[in-house]
Symmetry: C2
Subunit: 357 residues, 2 copies
DNA sequence: CGGCAAGCTGACAACGTTGTCGACAACGTG
DNA sequence: CACGTTGTCGACAACGTTGTCAGCTTGCCG
């Protein structure tokens, strides 16, 4: 890695303004503004001269200066806050939001809250200071009422994946409960009754809904779940791994397992692998994963349509910008059970309880 | 999804300014500015009154107005352009850039170019119009010389994953050639000589480097690769799938396969799966994947340190902002071969050539 | 008590842009 | 030729903020 000797031997280090353009073209700077904004009443010849000057200087409109003067004060940018952009759920959501926004000439500022409420509100404050036109966020913690301030200042908010608390707003959410309930029935159809559930923090709305779907469907089966087979508070793959190992040390051990999100899935599959149970315990994961269909057995999943979630959220935001007075909407998006193998393992041959590890 | 009746019954729809704050506190607006910027020479009592007014109005500094007036004109935001944010390589890179930037009070505008040069330059133009303080980008196409304009206007550029063309700039790149060469030697140690390579467009720098490493190491083995065993131009998983299927219809078929990126890997593993060859053909993938260690056989990969790449790129950009005259640097980051199983399949039992499909 | 520095505060210009308005030329009409 | 209308263009104010500077109030020293 040899340093390249070539320093940036440029001159100005300062972007040209419309006044520079005007001077070069020999016109008043307001006329330049007219050309740049496609306003009428500029002689074609003058227009030409100005465009030539623009090209020569490499002028780029300063749209932040523009936005402070414009009537609507819009910055043509929106803010998006997810939990962790490196998570495939978040990144594909972000991609969808971006595409929708870009079609409408808007850029997207992105931030990761890591589930920490303070980071979330810090990011909101930063976005708000940049005067984003609107916010889309995956809310954390117990209170989003602070967002009333942003809204009162004309910055609408859309919640995605979970509803905000202490505030009413447009919200886009998957049908979490229905998805898990379907998974339970699917497993039941293969003879399972001892079905376990591993979930994230119970305070997170998605965990709560998925667990609710689990309990509802388990109740339909008769006895409901064995309380020891329901574990929550699993913030990461490691904790999920340990919880899964414990699960299969129980007597009776579950014969089927449902995991509440993709991090938990990864931890749990590792655990099943370690215990040599991957072919014997039925397994259904919430959230699809890139290689899920290549595992042996291939993972049966409850897939969210992340692109549709992002697009819906973005659409809701732009509609809200157009009509701030419309009633708030709660948009539910279906999830889809994709049977691949792991969810179709029969309960006929239950693993004998293990003695420990 | 019932519409919630509650309309946003707020009043102003306009964010308060320092003048509003000043009026409420009964001071001149410049004094408010002083307090907000922690400038000296404000009586503690006055300061209190102003902070109270700020809190009461929910005032948030308009940092875009601030940035047009500030001496350095900095917006405290940077732009990042990746190929596809939904790709795990891009999203984890983005996450790292974001974290580095956020620690320095900067926000990140993100865009996906999809590998289309025009989209890339459009995004650059948009970012430039927003007056980002700097740009980090994964360049596409054959020419980035248009970025000289941005740089002349004081917006530095850092290339990541690939060098820009037609322009010199700070660049952060993985040691692609070394990684693939190591993979070839690894396979050779398990008896392979008929090793195939599947790559993306040969015009992409990473493809070119990885292929170069492949050819170098193959040459060391003696004969060099069978030309029919080297396929490039595979833009997506589907094409990679078809190429892989064709590969194993050849006589002699390769006994080992190296894939040039994660999309190709997914296509190729599907192909091996379809052909029933996953346990017989040795396989090494460039780029790690989330579930790679859970496949059977687990995927041996050449892993890039995506977080380190993102952090290095961000660091390079901030250092460039501090010292625009420093010589350009080219930063190489090591890759790591992670043996898991698929790369350690011996060549002793080669699959008989297939008759076709 | 006069003088002077230091602390505090506000009036005003300026950033790069858009909005408003008026000046001026060209044109058509009576 | 007088007049209004239309098209073209620039001077100027304004957006919300920071930079500059001058003015006022203190407190301290002689």
């Amino acid at each position: 890695m040899p340093p390249v000797p070539n320093p940036p031997g440029d001159g100005s280090m300062r972007a040209p303004t419309i006044k520079d353009v005007a001077e070069l073209a020999g016109v008043g700077f307001k006329t330049v503004s007219r050309v740049l904004n496609d306003e009428p009443n500029v002689r074609p010849e003058t227009r030409e001269r100005i465009l030539a000057a623009v090209a020569e200087l490499g002028y780029r409109r300063n749209s932040i200066a523009s936005s402070i003067r414009r009537r609507d004060q819009r910055t043509s940018s929106i803010g998006l806050i997810v939990e962790d952009l490196a998570n495939p759920f978040a990144s594909s959501l972000t991609r969808a939001v971006q595409d929708y926004a870009l079609e409408r000439q808007h850029l997207v500022l992105v931030g990761s809250s890591d589930g920490v409420p303070e980071r979330e509100s810090d990011l909101v404050a930063e976005f708000s200071a940049r005067r984003v036109d609107g916010l889309i966020l995956v809310p954390n913690g117990t209170d989003q009422s602070y967002l009333e301030i942003e809204r009162a200042h004309g910055i609408p908010v859309v919640f995605v994946d979970r509803p905000g608390r202490g505030i009413e707003a447009d919200t886009v959410i998957s049908e979490n409960a229905l998805g898990v309930a379907e998974a339970v029935r699917h497993l039941a159809a293969f003879g399972h009754t001892r079905i376990a559930f591993l979930g994230d923090l119970p305070t997170i709305h998605t965990t709560e809904r998925r667990l609710a779907g689990f309990r509802t469907a388990m109740a339909e089966l008769g006895t409901g779940p064995d309380p020891r087979h329901v574990r929550t508070g699993l913030r990461d793959g490691d904790r999920a791994y340990r919880a899964a190992v414990e699960l299969f040390g129980l007597d009776p051990a579950p014969t089927a397992l449902i995991c509440g999100n993709n991090l938990i899935t990864i931890g749990a599959v590792h655990a099943l692998q370690h215990l040599g149970l991957r072919d014997r315990v039925a397994f259904i994961a919430f959230d699809d994963l890139e290689l899920a269909d290549l595992l042996r057995p291939a993972l049966t999943v409850i897939a969210q349509d992340t692109a549709a979630i992002g697009t819906s959220a973005a659409r809701a935001l732009f509609e809200r910008l157009q009509d701030p007075a419309a009633p708030y909407r709660r948009i539910s998006l279906p999830v889809r059970l994709i049977p691949r193998s792991s969810g179709e393992i029969r309960a006929s041959d239950p693993p004998e309880p293990r003695t420990g590890d």
